[in-house]
Symmetry: C2
Subunit: 120 residues, 2 copies
DNA sequence: ATAAACCTTCAACAATGGTTGAAGGTCAAG
DNA sequence: CTTGACCTTCAACCATTGTTGAAGGTTTAT
């Protein structure tokens, strides 16, 4: 599979695939005789994993940490679980921060709507 | 008030104050004879407002939108309120996104903890 | 008078997550 | 054989939010 085909089936631009390779999220693929990258089918799901993880709010370096370097490897399940649980905590913290922020903004709105307040 | 003093009382580095000025969050202060920036007291609270707003999760460009350009101006109260209300919606959306993300991560953890699942 | 501590501008660097372009090689069809 | 669509590398650029450093001017204290 050439990079363009992989790009087409995954919806990830070739430039991004090369970027991921350069930054260690995608393994260096074998090359065809002409030097073109040659991807196995498995790389489709790896790219999907990356895409999903990004949608879940993981940064690329976080994803790198919990994806096995060698896609043939299977990472220790316990490690994956503990990574994900740490991420859960992280998400909870972010939600809590947003809620307190919401409360503050709301208070500001209430204050400003009071005709007795001095604006700003 | 010179930039160094303003930096000291607000805890915002001089480089950041100059950065904010360059990017339109802080007004261009009047200059002393020697060219040094000369800040009125009001700039302390303006910097605090910026700092707080950042802590509330506003990006610099968002803050720029709801701070009056000229600190002497009082922005239309209705405009400020509508800016803040838009921000509330934005926060609610972010919370909703995080919650759905949390749900997904949680499902993944549950799945991985099932000994019948194939890891990764 | 001189040194320390300030101030000025402008440019370069940092991390994050890419995109775009230049210069060139390869491949399939007409 | 030429054209278009691929592929290669490398470098430069984008936005965001700053920090750091160089080169030089000013102020303050000793």
């Amino acid at each position: 599979m050439k990079i363009g085909e992989l790009a087409k089936v995954t919806g990830v631009a070739t430039s991004r695939i090369r970027f991921y390779e350069k930054h260690g999220l995608m393994p260096h693929p074998v090359r065809q005789e002409n030097g073109y990258r040659d991807y196995p089918e498995a790389m489709i799901s790896r790219l999907h994993t990356i895409t999903m993880s990004k949608a879940l709010g993981f940064s690329l370096s976080e994803i790198k940490r919990f994806l096995p370097d060698d896609p043939g490897d299977i990472m220790e399940r316990a490690d994956v679980i503990s990574n994900l649980e740490a991420k859960l905590q992280d998400i909870d913290q972010r939600i809590a921060d947003l809620k307190s922020m919401r409360k503050n903004v709301k208070e500001m709105v209430v204050y400003l709507k009071d005709p007795n307040s001095k604006a700003c």
